[in-house]
Subunit: 487 residues, 2 copies
């Protein structure tokens, strides 16, 4: 058949001019060079940008271009227009929230993943994507000394989610599925499912209850003790009251490292209660989870063998760029049952034989990127040894910072749990501390966030960046002292 047999009433078209492979090489080098330059000068930018709402949009054209523009022009606009409105999460001066650290190998892993452009919804749609993910998640069971029930070789297994929020939602959905093998409301009767977490648990637990249609009020937020850990007596009491009301307790979330202060619930204590009342125990270790790569921090996970699910974020403290959450279940069936819908167009012989994992049945979306690649790049580039050293260095820096605060008569160490988050305040009232926070962030040399601890405003300084060093921590402490004394 000859080419002339292509016919068109529309007029023939040959498609747009794509960037050629050679142009991709040139522009790819340009982007790599641009990033190298960015990393070399990252310390020179205000960590949090000094822009007002609308400033960035105002510098961009209101309408999309009809004609193409060149790649160097685009990259130049990133530099000139966007960079002034970027918060520099990779700056060594970024101490706010929790970090979203992006090590060089993880950035390159993301590039390989984007370039391959694989969509791994089924084993069948890219076997390497699925099998590498299963393997790496099993590796991490070894690395963090997680209990055996989370290995894919048994009834459980791990999967990469975008975030701990999605992992928590999956845990809630699997817990509901396990208990009733049907959804609430499905029969027209409210089964009265109730769940529990501490007042300090992450906001995503409440969001999950809302999304799942259980109702935000059906999540009981249990009081915490003086360590900001869940009060086990209060938890048991709440469950008893709910049972007496005819409700159905089904889920409890324990936190290893709360967002506010990095406090940790007793996983063993909550685990014993979850066993007694047949609750699904989900353990959220989003930030602190990585610490257990070091044997000396494994006390955090004591009792984890009682958990039905567990998650932590390599994109927070394990050198892997956002998004990358590792979510484990002890029994994959309720999760898969809650998530699976199988239309004809996804059927294939491998799935039918149940020989393979189809990760679409482990998550909210159908499609998925090849995210295990960047995690594999990180683990191999650093080795367990390097990741341990990363964690220990941050803890070392945070411990020193906490000691300086504690020893300084002008400051108060509000909470430090021994890991990498220090909550502190200058002596004075909340307003004064809020003014200090804004003044510090306006220096541009560092970026902190805040929280409320037992009714008191506290500044949060979290050390988890790739490029942090002793000099920067010292310089930041000097800045904090100087700005505080100048107010």
């Amino acid at each position: 058949m000859a080419m002339k047999e292509f016919r068109s009433a529309l007029g023939e078209t040959s498609g747009p001019k794509h960037m050629s492979v050679e142009e991709f090489r040139t522009n790819g080098y340009r982007v790599i060079d641009w990033l190298c330059n960015y990393y070399e000068h990252i310390d020179s930018f205000p960590v949090a940008p000094l822009v007002q709402p609308g400033d960035i949009r105002g510098d961009l054209p209101a309408s999309p271009p009809f004609e193409p523009v060149t790649f160097p022009e685009i990259l130049s606009d990133v530099e000139k227009i966007l960079l002034p409105g970027i918060t520099h999460w990779q700056s060594p001066g970024f101490f706010a929230y929790f970090p979203a650290n992006a090590s060089p190998p993880s950035v390159l892993g993301e590039l390989v993943s984007a370039g391959l452009g694989v969509q791994g919804m089924l084993w069948h749609t890219s076997p390497s994507c699925t099998e590498l993910e299963t393997l790496v998640l099993d590796w991490i069971v070894d690395m963090l000394a997680l209990p055996d029930q989370f290995r894919s070789t048994g009834l459980g297994g791990g999967v990469i989610q975008d975030s701990a929020s999605s992992a928590t939602l999956c845990a809630v959905l699997a817990a509901r599925e396990r208990l009733e093998e049907r959804s609430p409301c499905q029969t027209g009767a409210d089964p009265g499912f109730v769940g529990y977490c501490s007042e300090e648990a992450h906001s995503s637990v409440e969001k999950a209850f809302s999304i799942a249609g259980l109702g935000r009020k059906r999540l009981r937020k249990i009081a915490t003790d003086s360590d900001q850990a869940i009060d086990l007596g209060a938890l048991t009491e709440h469950i008893s009251v709910d049972l007496k009301k005819g409700l159905t307790p089904f889920f409890v979330c324990a936190t290893v490292g709360t967002t506010s202060t990095l406090s940790t619930d007793s996983v063993r204590g909550v685990g014993l209660i979850s066993q007694e009342y047949n609750l699904w125990l989900h353990v959220d270790a989003a930030m602190a989870g990585t610490a257990s790569v070091c044997p000396e921090f494994r006390y955090l996970n004591e009792g984890l063998e009682k958990a039905a699910s567990y998650c932590f974020n390599p994109h927070k403290w394990m050198l892997t760029n956002f998004d990358c959450n590792c979510f484990y279940v002890a029994d994959r069936r309720p999760l898969n049952n809650a998530m699976s819908v199988l239309p004809e167009y996804l059927k294939n012989k491998n799935s039918e034989k149940e020989e393979v994992i189809d990760y679409r049945d482990w998550q909210i979306p159908l499609g998925r990127r090849f995210r295990s690649l960047k995690l594999w790049f990180v683990i191999r580039s650093y080795g367990i040894r390097g990741i341990q050293s990363f964690i220990r260095h941050h803890v070392f820096l945070a411990r020193n910072f906490a000691r300086w605060v504690d020893e300084d008569p002008d400051f108060e160490l509000v909470k430090y749990t021994g890991l990498n988050l220090v909550c502190f305040r200058v002596k004075g009232d909340d307003t004064h501390n809020n003014i200090l926070l804004n003044a510090l962030n306006e220096t541009g040399t560092l970026f902190l966030s805040h929280t409320m601890i037992e009714g008191k405003f506290a500044l949060r300084l979290c050390i988890g960046q790739v490029w942090i060093d002793k000099e920067k921590v010292l310089e930041s402490w000097e800045t904090i002292k100087r700005v505080a004394s100048s107010l």
Copy 2:
């Protein structure tokens, strides 16, 4: 303060050796070169790999490494171990499912995004990330001639989600929120929410009902007419029956381009019904949505001004690598109310003044990547002109392929709706066609998937790849004819 003031009981640590900026440059060039080589030879790999379950994992070490390995070693293992198990979604021979196309500018946009490592949960956590997204989503309203209610300058607006599945879930949750301003089950009474879509709607609508706790059975799958479009009479009838039962119809999903055949519901027809019964109309144009960049395909969206929400996937047919779904709402308040939980540690003065968009309240997860960057790279690199040309070229190729099938006495054109998906079969029974499908995929030169249309097995050939050309389409048709005649 001198360095000696750093003290440690653990023994001082200086952290791991990171890849230096210069090493990052060298390794970054290596990855770019590797991808160039991959693109140059992509046609030489079997599109779907010839591996068995466990093959890839079996070639990888069972345990994680304690010591680091070099970057070239990792990249070499990608080539030697992973590549044989990759399904080549970017190969011109990939015709299965819907494409997940990744143009060179989008890959480089993803690289910039990964390198900057910004987490845009709040405006405050990176103003450029939020403002560029809002702008680009407004641009797309212009580009696709979407109705004005979806512009951020009014009550509505757009947001990037990972996938149409998540967008549909958000639509269901917002619809529920709007109707009741409370979640079902919250009061202990089942409000009896029921929703509607056609039998041909995407599986994610059912998944959303399951996740939201509404119950899968509360989604009515309405029969389709001979065009595989929703039967409007049957829809009205179902609503009437549900109302008589005392149930509460609240949601309907219309599909512009079904997954099975790219058939399209009458958006206007469904819209009129949704108005009459006060249903939230969500329009899912995941694949076909991009077509309306061309004026000649805007008939697909006729009636869209009646929709409460809309989504399409630039990661399918708009040259942007996965993941990138654009989700629009006419009124952002019910979505934000359904999604918002505001803990102390996320409060900031900009959010309080309500001057800014915080996209965390528009999605399931809390954290988010800087995904608008790659979309902005694509739109600027191609211009509207280039994207139109991309769509027209694919439609041109698909129309010719459909004509060849139709004119061939050995084949049957089962369904072709005039866009870029051709559903066809060889004369013979379903088993014969299934054998043909497997035999074709085993040639390695192309990869097709299948569906069932009115009870008949049909092969699906979708043209949406970046690198497709006339020669490949012609060669693929020759292969199909040759393999079919050899069976």
